[in-house]
């Protein structure tokens, strides 16, 4: 579903992504972990070209990601994205947030878009918040609304860029539950996260990044119980002790 080859990205002098290769199969849940600044968010943002890579190729569903314009917009319509800061449209209600892209991009009628939106809001457990402005919702509710908004486009892949990092601890669970449900339903997912429990529970494969490279990748139990590289071992020792 996603195929990345030889991806390089610089921010000025800083080499953020270093010859990254990554394959994500249809229905696979890949969790990307690693220390801050390891390039995992940048990698995620390159997949739908919110960041433009400097070299390398990215194919989504067999199609090279276009450089710009309408072709890029069409590709993005098929790739859902959930952000750390939710990024719900502040001037619209939750329901309108979910309806906007299907009506404007897919040309779905308002009635049908609303029906789908209400179904999705019910699925993520916030049906009763539909008429509210995003600022009136808790962080966890906002992030679930953002997931519903992405799902409304019926994406082939969902990208999650640290979806729980901006949440109060007691709200992390409700968002992870929705994501776990999605994974169980067979959604193809790339999840950048610090939630090791989620990685262990929901991932088909864990990708460990450090210094802009993919250092280690493997099936979650094997990775967490017996990491092969020193850097992965160091990282896990730091994050799993508390």
């Amino acid at each position: 579903m996603i195929r990345v080859r030889g991806l390089n990205k610089w921010f000025g002098e800083h080499h953020v992504l270093h010859d990254v290769d990554l394959d994500v199969a249809r229905g696979e849940v890949v969790v990307v972990i690693g220390p801050s600044g390891s390039g995992k968010s940048t990698l995620c943002r390159c997949l739908n070209r919110l960041e433009a890579a400097d070299s390398g190729e990215i194919l989504v569903d067999g199609v090279p990601v276009p450089g710009e314009g309408r072709a890029l917009a069409r590709l993005r319509a098929d790739v859902g994205m959930v952000f750390q800061n939710f990024n719900l449209f502040q001037h619209k209600t939750v329901l309108e947030n979910v309806m906007l892209a299907p009506t404007k991009v897919r040309g779905v009628s308002r009635a049908e878009a609303e029906r789908t939106a209400r179904e999705l809001l019910a699925r993520v457990g916030i049906a009763e918040q539909a008429g509210k402005q995003p600022a009136r919702l808790s962080g966890g509710q906002q992030q679930r609304a953002a997931i519903a908004r992405a799902l409304a486009m019926r994406p082939k892949v969902m990208l999650f860029d640290e979806p729980t990092s901006a949440l109060d601890p007691e709200m992390v669970g409700e968002v992870l539950d929705v994501m776990t449900g999605l994974a169980a339903d067979g959604m193809t997912m790339v999840v950048v996260t610090h939630e090791m429990g989620f990685a262990r529970r929901a991932a088909d494969r864990v990708v460990f990044m450090d210094g802009g490279r993919i250092v280690e990748t493997g099936e979650p139990n094997a990775f967490f119980d017996s990491p092969r590289t020193d850097r992965a071992r160091d990282f896990l020792a730091k994050v799993l002790t508390h």
Binding site: N48, D78, N87, L100, V105, A135
Partner: protein, 214 residues
């Protein structure tokens, strides 16, 4: 006072021209401002450069110079239009640069994540600007736009210098007959003040109406 009351029809006619010019040139300026800001925050380097040069040029020239150049220069190159029309177009182009800058400050005040989220959903740059970024940007710059509207109202008086008989020119004409500048220009000034006060009132209403919870 009688100087004012005896010539009410002339004043009224001048005020009507001023209001027409204000309305027409503000609409034009809004359209120009939207186009320029879309170019300026857009992804195409050439359009960004053109928009930047446009804003810098028009903001750095006095409106009176532009009016004189247009009124006397354009007929030289075969472009002929009525005085009032010419003045409206020049004021619209000039104030459009200010509106573009006000809108741009609004766009900058909106977090980049809003535009990213819109584009990530498959909206084109134009759609994300129209449906997500500009509506929010607009709600943050209602006051500056109101100020531009008031400045534009006052600036229409410069058209008097190139022969448009709007409120200031009408007052001037009456004064040539009556030689009572103080009541005549105080009267004209009060009319401008009334327009500005209405604009201020409407601006406040619109601002409350568009307020976005964050």
């Amino acid at each position: 006072m009688s100087a004012l009351l005896d010539h009410l029809p002339e004043f009224w006619q001048g005020l009507v021209v001023t209001l027409q010019m204000t309305a027409a040139s503000f609409l034009g300026a809004a359209a120009v401002g939207l186009v320029i800001v879309a170019m300026r925050v857009g992804p195409v380097p050439v359009l960004r450069a053109v928009a930047t040069v446009y804003v810098e040029t028009l903001q750095n020239l006095p409106l009176l110079v532009l009016l004189v150049l247009a009124v006397f220069g354009l007929p030289e190159i075969g472009l002929k239009a009525g005085l009032t029309t010419t003045a409206i177009v020049v004021i619209a182009l000039y104030e459009g640069a200010y509106i573009a800058e006000a809108l741009r400050s609004g766009v900058n005040a909106i977090s980049a994540g809003q535009g990213e989220a819109a584009r990530a959903l498959g909206l084109t740059f134009g759609q994300s600007l129209r449906h997500v970024v500009l509506p929010q940007a607009l709600s943050t710059v209602v006051q500056p736009l109101g100020n531009i509207f008031i400045a534009l109202t006052m600036n229409t008086s410069l058209a008097a210098a190139v022969g448009v008989v709007e409120l200031t020119a009408a007052a001037n004409r009456v004064n040539l007959l009556e030689a009572q500048p103080i009541p005549i220009f105080v009267g004209a000034g009060l009319a401008y003040a009334a327009v500005a006060a209405c604009a201020g009132f409407v601006t406040g209403r619109i601002e409350r109406r568009l307020a976005v919870a964050r």
